[in-house]
Amino acid sequence: MTVKVRSSPFGSTTRTRVLLALSLMSESYPRELARLLEAPLSSTQRALRSLERDGLVAARSAGRTRIFRINPRYFAFSDLMRYLRRLNEPEVELAQRVAALRRRPRQTAKPL
């Protein structure tokens, strides 16, 4: 059994980490989040589903991919974002990992 080294105010550690990551990324998909958080894909998907049921995140489809974001229609959205920003302050490593993700466009077929 691993020792829990982080607080998880949103239930499981994965739920909390997913919310923290989404607040930094604006939007993401399960595989990207799982990679970023170094969490199993299945538990990331489970966390996203339960957060979606709670109304904290919302998803849209892009082809076969579900793109998730913090739900801007959640009644406490602005307070939630403020809280997540505060929780993200000590999460330097997570912020660095997010910063390393390429988000700007890249022309089709252009080599990396």
């Binding site: 049921r53 709670d54 109304g55 229609r73 009644f75 959205f77």
Partner: protein, 176 residues
Amino acid sequence: MHVGNALRRHGIHGVLTGGACASLHTGGVYHSVDVDFILSGRVTQAQLDAAMAEVGFVRKGDHYVHPRVRFYVEFPRGPLAIGADHRVHPVERRSGTVRSLTLSATDSCRDRLAAWYHWNDRQSLEVAVAIALRNRIRLPAVRDWSHEEGFEDRFEEFLAAVREARRRRRGRSWRP
């Protein structure tokens, strides 16, 4: 309406929201296959199953289906809110002996506008306009709320769309 009535009979406080509520306020101009009720108070799964079974719905995963109707019923987690506004006052709608709690026309219009504001969903704008055409909407309240949500510009766009739809409707009715 019958689902809302069954919930009420079982002592469950459920308010019809979302697309199905908008469908009621547009007189069926807009259709939705998912019917969303927001529940409040303490409700057990057994109570909810019993209320839904009374109108022929059975639970399948996290929603309820009926063998003979196309739509399904869901109970998204509350609170009942439109954007950041959780001071929402549902209204009772009657049809014969059937009574159900729904969003008011103004709140249903705001609910659709929220989808347009936050998801950029133009179909929701069209539904909000359709609601405004068929009902008396408290536009100053919608304007204030839009301002609070940070979408005053989009409210003006909505208003322009309502005016244009009214103009077109008048034009149609004048034609021989």
